[in-house]
Symmetry: C2
Subunit: 384 residues, 2 copies
C-alpha cells in the first residue's frame, strides 16, 4: 500500500448558514481544499454525512456534491457512521488512494442542521443510538451520555465542576479559530451555572450543533512535495465498533472501540501515546473527553478529569487537546466533525495556529466517535 | 492489488417482513453468506442501505448490524448511493480486501420499506433525486423516469407495448426464484391494462418495493478453493457519476455513467459486451432496461426494446437479463438490490438456477443504478 499525504485542506465556518444549501457548504470546503493543494480535480469523492436523508430530504449525496463541484464522472459515495461519518469517509478515501484504486481522492464531511427545530434535530441525532432498544424507550442521545457521566461520577468520585477544564480549554482555543461556532471564553462559574440539558450534562458540557463542511485532498505521498510547508502523511488509521447499545457493554465506562482503534493506529505509526503532540478528541460531551483520554492511554481508568484539572490538556500541557476549539466550541456539524479534526491537525503540523500553536508539533491524533462509543475511528497524522 | 473471490452468498426473500426489524433481515443474509462459505466471522462489514435514517429512524447501521451479527470489534460502515447503495458497498468491500487492508469482508445490502405508507415511501425514494431542483418542483422519482420514457418513445417511435417483453421476462424468471417478491406470470395484455402510475409508466413497468437483505463474503482469491463449485471472482468493478438532475444532462436518453462504468469494467476484465453470458441490469422501470442495454454496448442507441421483442433478453437469448426476476419481479428493496444482483450472478456461475439457468455461464455482469442514472456501478464476475 502506498503512503498517502493530505495535500490540501478546506473548511467553512461552523455557523447558521441559512443562505447555503448542503451542496453549497460541501463545495465551498472542496474548492478551498483543491486551491490549497493547487489542484483542480480529483478522481473520487467520499462524503461523510449522517442525516441528509432526514434533514435535507437528500440522499445520493455523493453524486449531488460531485455534480455541484464539477467533478465530472468521478466515483462518489456517501459514508455514514453517525457522528463518526467524517473519519469513516476519510478511511474510505485513504484505502482508495493507498491501494492505487485511484490516484486522488477528495473527502468532504458536511452537515446542515440549523434549519430544523430543536425537536427534529434531537430525533435525528438519536438515530445514532439503537432505535429499538434505546430510543424507543424514551432516551435521547444526550440522555445516554448523561447516564454514562452520572455513573462515572459515582464510580470515581468526581464532581461536576471537575469537568470544567475540558470546556474552558475548548472555548479558550476557539477564540483564535476564525471558523469556530463559539467565540466566547468561559469560567468555572459559567460552567456550573449553565442551563441543565440532561442531568448532569448542562449546556456547557455539550457541544453545539451547526452547519458546516470540511474537506481534504488525498494524494499518494510521492506526488506531493512539501514546498514551504511540511508534508502531512496519514501514518495510522483504524476503525473499530463496539455494541451500539450502551447497556450491552460489559463496562459502559470504558470506550473499548477507542482503545482498540488507537492501539491499531499506534502500531501502524510505530509510536505510543507518549509520542502524540496534540489530540483532537471527540468532546461531544465533557464526559467523552475523559473517557477518550483514558481509552487512548493518556490517563489511568477513572482519572481523565485529572489531566484537565492539572492543565495538561491545554496548549503547553502534556497532551494539548481540541486545539482549535473541538466539538465543544468549534462546533459539531455531526458528519463533518471528523474532517474538521483532520484539517485542524494539519494546521497544527503546518504551524499555522497562531496563539494556539503547539510548538514543534510533528505528530497529531484525531479520534471521531459515532454513537455513544459504538463506532470509533482513529487517525494519526505526521509531518515530515 | 489481490484478486478477490466471492466466497459466500446469502439472501432473505423479498417480501413484507412485518415480523423482522432491519437488523434481523441483515443478519439473516449475513449468516447465510457465512454458512455458505463455511466461515464464522469477517474482519469488516460494509452495509449498503439508502433510507434507514428516514424509515427506520436508525443510522449508525454499520455498528448496529455488526453488533447484531456478533462481529465483535469489526470495522463497519454504511455506504449510501441511493438505489445504487448495494453495489457501492460491494466496491468498498472489494477495495478493502484487494488492497490487503483486511483479509475478509462481509457486504450486506438491506432495506425495510413496507412498514410505511406509500406516500412516505414515495417521499423517501425521491431523496435519490435533486431535492432542490427536481423534487421541490413536484416531481416524484417515478415521474422523472416517466418523462425519460415518454421522450424516448417520442424520439425513437416505440409504443408502450414494445417494452412488455422486459417485464414479461422478469416475471417468467421470478417464477423459479424462491426469494422473489412476485410469483406471477404476465402477458402483453396484462402489461397494457395495468393501472397507470405516471404516464407512460404503469404498474407493470415499475418494480415493486419490499423488505429484504442480501449478503456476500469477500476473501482474497488465493484463500478460496472451489471445491465442488467454481470459484467466483470479481474481474471488473467501476463506479461513475453523472449529473444528479436529469435536466442538466446533454442527452437525458443516454446513461453516460453506465457507458463509462461498463467500459472501465470491461477493460479491467479484458472482455467486451459480446463475452457477457448474462446481465443483471437495473430494471427499476422498463425504460431503464432499454437504456442500460444501449449504454453497455448490447444495442444501438434507441434500439434497446428490439432486444426484448426479439427474445434476446430471455433465457436462451443473446444476452439473458434479470435471470432471477430482476428488480421488476424479484423486487427492489432499494439499498439491497445491488447485492441481490451479485448473489444472482454467482448462482448462475455456480449453475444453481434450475429452469432459468444460463447454460455454461462463465461471465456475468451486474449493474446497479442510484438515482435516475446519477450513480452507476458495474461489476463483472467470472467463474474459474
Amino acid at each position: 500500500m502506498r503512503q498517502v499525504a493530505i495535500a490540501g485542506i478546506g473548511q467553512t465556518s461552523v455557523d447558521e448558514h441559512w443562505d447555503k444549501a448542503i451542496r453549497d457548504l460541501a463545495v465551498e470546503a472542496i474548492l478551498a481544499a483543491l486551491m490549497d493543494a493547487g489542484r483542480q480535480n480529483a478522481e473520487a469523492l467520499f462524503v461523510g454525512n449522517m442525516m441528509s436523508g432526514i434533514i435535507d430530504h437528500q440522499n445520493n449525496l455523493g453524486a449531488l456534491i460531485a455534480d455541484w463541484a464539477g467533478l465530472r464522472s468521478a466515483e462518489a459515495v456517501k459514508i455514514e457512521a453517525a457522528c463518526g461519518s467524517g473519519a469513516a469517509a476519510l478511511r474510505a478515501g485513504l484505502i482508495a488512494v493507498a491501494s492505487g484504486e485511484v490516484d486522488s481522492a477528495l473527502v468532504v464531511g458536511v452537515e446542515k442542521m440549523t434549519d430544523q427545530s430543536g425537536h427534529d434535530i434531537t430525533a435525528a441525532l438519536a438515530t445514532a443510538a439503537d432505535a429499538d432498544w434505546e430510543v424507543d424507550h424514551g432516551v435521547s442521545f444526550v440522555g445516554l451520555n448523561a447516564m454514562i457521566m452520572r455513573r462515572y461520577m459515582y464510580e470515581y468520585g468526581w464532581k461536576h465542576a471537575d469537568f470544567a477544564p475540558f470546556s474552558i480549554n475548548a472555548h479558550a482555543n476557539a477564540l483564535h479559530n476564525p471558523f469556530a461556532r463559539l467565540h466566547q471564553a468561559i469560567t468555572v462559574e459559567d460552567f456550573e451555572k449553565a442551563p441543565m440539558v440532561a442531568t448532569p450534562i448542562n449546556l456547557l458540557d455539550a457541544s453545539p450543533t451547526g452547519d458546516g463542511a470540511a474537506a481534504v485532498l488525498l494524494l499518494p505521498a510521492e506526488k506531493v512535495t512539501g514546498g514551504k510547508r511540511p508534508r502531512t502523511l496519514i501514518a495510522g488509521s483504524a476503525s473499530v465498533t463496539d455494541t451500539i447499545s450502551v447497556h450491552s457493554r460489559r463496562d459502559p465506562l470504558f470506550l473499548k472501540a477507542a482503545y482498540e482503534s488507537a492501539k491499531k493506529a499506534y502500531a501502524q505509526a510505530g509510536i505510543g501515546p507518549e509520542d502524540i503532540d496534540l489530540f483532537e478528541l471527540h468532546d461531544a460531551f465533557s464526559i467523552m473527553s475523559a473517557l477518550s483520554l483514558e481509552a487512548c492511554g493518556f490517563a489511568e481508568r477513572g482519572q481523565g478529569p485529572r489531566l484537565g484539572l492539572d492543565g495538561e490538556t491545554a496548549i503547553g500541557g502534556r497532551i494539548p487537546c481540541v486545539t482549535r476549539g473541538g466539538l465543544k466550541a468549534r462546533g459539531h456539524p455531526v458528519g463533518a466533525t471528523g474532517i474538521y479534526q483532520i484539517v485542524e491537525v494539519v494546521q497544527q503540523l503546518r504551524g499555522e495556529c497562531g496563539p494556539t500553536q503547539v510548538e514543534g508539533a510533528k505528530i497529531g491524533m484525531a479520534q471521531n466517535i459515532g454513537g455513544a462509543g459504538a463506532t470509533i475511528v482513529t487517525h494519526i497524522i505526521t509531518a515530515d
